[in-house]
């Protein structure tokens, strides 16, 4: 009997319909598309890497493949990019690589830390103290402001920062980044929601206050999400060249310097090989950071969670 059923299943062929084709083709088609995308992206990266170590002559002769012959290699492109990533701040003042590196670190670490810390604290209150009526109302305001398409224009922001005396000030930029109710807030909010309030209740019964419970019990339990969000913010800010260009003209960062290098046309930077080396110079630190924290960074992150 069992054999007969097996035979029956073997013999049965589903009718050929577009639906069955879709079912079968879907994973293969998406996987293939993904493979093509990956190949194109890798080819582009590899081409950039190879080009960055070619001499101008080597690049002219063969713009695609590995340099042939010793004289076609030119690692000094990186040194040239390093030397020429500089920004003229005033007529007499220029920022070089190391100054921009310090600016990049101040900008990225300061803003990332403050934005995640404020988001963590604010979302803690809104997720765990929503029984308080005004906290609940605040949550509604946060949601509305996050989805309202109204935000002040770049021009209005420049004027506002000028009015407050915070334009072209790192401290002003840090203050500005303390906005606790943005996308980082929503991600942290989701993780607070997933954390049991039972830990806090146990701490309250043991005599801990609200602050101590948050600081010593609850916040340490979210240190992974804090770290991941900090890293994500850091990477975003490290790569951000627009904010320093617009709001911090006296604090040029490496990203801004590398962007400016693309439009600089002096003798040393005219070659495309040097320009690409300049781009790789600023991409390298975040790539290393990514490889070190790959597993943590690519762990579970969610906004809003699932239904049901």
């Amino acid at each position: 009997m069992e054999n007969a059923t097996k035979k029956h299943y073997k013999r049965y062929k589903p009718p050929f319909t577009w639906r069955t084709v879709t079912r079968k083709i879907f994973p293969v088609a998406v996987w293939s598309l993904l493979l093509i995308w990956t190949i194109v992206f890798l080819a582009q990266l590899l081409w950039g890497l190879v080009t960055s170590v070619k001499s101008a002559w080597g690049f002219y002769i063969d713009p695609i493949f590995f340099p042939k012959g010793k004289e076609m290699w030119q690692f000094s492109n990186y040194a040239a990019a390093f030397k020429n990533i500089r920004v003229q701040i005033t007529n007499t003042e220029t920022a070089g690589f190391f100054r921009m590196l310090v600016n990049s670190l101040l900008f990225a670490v300061g803003n990332a830390f403050l934005s995640v810390l404020t988001a963590a604290l604010a979302s803690y209150i809104l997720a765990k103290y929503n029984r308080i009526r005004w906290v609940g109302a605040l949550w509604a305001i946060v949601l509305i402001t996050n989805y309202l398409p109204i935000s002040s224009s770049t021009a209005a922001n420049i004027k506002l920062l000028n009015d407050l005396g915070l334009f072209d000030s790192m401290l002003g930029n840090w203050l500005w980044s303390c906005g606790a109710f943005g996308a980082v807030f929503l991600m942290y909010y989701a993780s607070w929601k997933g954390l049991s309030w039972g830990y806090a209740e146990a701490a309250f019964i043991d005599g801990a206050g609200h602050f101590r419970t948050m600081w010593q019990i609850m916040l340490p339990m979210t240190r992974t999400i804090f770290g991941v969000l900090f890293l994500m913010q850091f990477i975003t800010l490290w790569n951000d060249y627009m904010t320093p260009l617009i709001y911090l003209p006296s604090f040029p960062t490496l990203s801004y310097g590398a962007w400016l290098l693309q439009y600089t046309t002096n003798y040393e930077t005219a070659d495309i090989t040097v320009k690409i080396a300049g781009l790789l110079l600023i991409a390298f630190p975040v790539f290393v950071l990514f490889m070190c924290f790959k597993e943590k960074l690519m762990g579970s992150l969610t906004i809003g969670g699932l239904k049901g």
Binding site: W37, T38, T51, D62, I64, I125, I150, A155, K159, M298
Partner: protein
């Protein structure tokens, strides 16, 4: 055995909770009041102002000229065919990003289902997120300009016949759209994967018992379960609908006229009005601050009903969706 809080200590506890919440949120609320509420008020006021170069300060337009900045915006938008085209270009560029959304979710699904090379794909798809958008855009530019040209020549093409995909006015916009599509495909990979990984195993198990194929699992389980996140994506996508800039600033820089005319988007045009050529605190650009702010405000106001309409549509489609 742990004791419960008494009624008196519960009252004290609640009062302390109020004090704790107020003191912890005080700084953040003050910051929000200044950098969100006041910034938006300032934004509205600036839309009715002009910069007086001689006096070095902003002044309100008076009387019948009150809406001068808005008038300039509408005049440029409807009377200047160039600006109308910028506006349409921005919308097309944003629609391309919108078109990437389903594919990016499918990509995440392939990785989530651990199909071959899933781990490798995951790293590759995440790379554009960690690299600067400027680096990715300029790599793309140089690759198209020089790398593809080299391949074209290697295949026997003549250098002078290779099309100028980046600088040719008839081809550049298509190249920018291709770039937007190409870089939009990874989408928000981590969020998609994180959300998919939280789908209960029981449900997937039921699907397996029902004989679901991967396509059926994707359509009938994954997408409906991701509905709240999809809702957020869609609402977020509409916010940039009218002022999408694309990769133009990274690729063509901040020099007026550097980008081929056909590629310019309204967002890029507005950015150049404020920081074009010389940077943020340049005196002449301040003459455009009122105009760009009026444009930004008008676009924001027009977007509100679109976003709320979308939200209502989602609620009607699935009222149980929650954030």
């Amino acid at each position: 055995m742990r004791k419960k809080l008494s009624a008196a200590s519960r009252t004290t506890h609640e009062r302390n909770a109020q004090i704790f919440c107020i003191s912890l949120l005080a700084f953040m609320l003050a910051q929000w009041l200044v950098f969100y509420v006041y910034a938006n008020i300032n934004n509205i006021l600036l839309a009715f102002q002009r910069f007086d170069v001689a006096a070095g300060q902003y002044e309100f337009y008076e009387g019948s000229r009150m809406f001068e900045n808005f008038g300039r915006f509408f005049k440029e938008l409807f009377a200047d065919p160039k600006v109308s085209k910028y506006f349409v270009n921005g919308m097309i560029m944003h629609l391309v990003t919108l078109a990437c959304l389903p594919l990016s979710i499918m990509f995440a699904f392939v990785i989530y289902k651990k199909l071959p090379l899933g781990g490798f794909f995951k790293v590759m798809l995440y790379l554009p997120t960690i690299l600067s958008s400027m680096v990715v855009a300029l790599f793309f530019r140089y690759f198209v300009e020089y790398g593809c040209e080299g391949m074209y020549m290697a295949l026997g093409g003549a250098k002078e016949n290779y099309p100028l995909f980046i600088t040719d006015n008839t081809r550049a916009f298509g190249t920018m759209l291709l770039y937007s599509f190409y870089t939009g495909l990874p989408g928000s990979l981590l969020l998609n994967l994180g959300t998919m990984s939280r789908i209960p195993d029981d449900l997937i198990e039921v699907g397996k018992l029902e004989g679901f194929s991967l396509w059926q699992e994707f359509i009938y389980l994954t997408v409906p379960m991701m509905f709240p996140v999809l809702q957020i994506y869609c609402l977020g996508l509409f916010t940039g609908f009218f002022n999408a800039q694309g990769p133009l600033f990274a690729i063509y820089g901040n020099r007026l006229g550097a980008a081929p005319e056909n590629t310019v988007t309204f967002g890029y045009y507005m950015t150049l009005q404020v920081i074009g050529d010389v940077g943020g605190n340049a005196g002449d650009n301040r003459l455009n601050y009122g105009f760009t702010t009026a444009a930004n405000l008008t676009i924001g106001l027009v977007s509100i009903p679109i976003i709320w309409g979308t939200k209502k549509l989602f609620d009607r489609f699935d009222p149980e969706a929650e954030f």
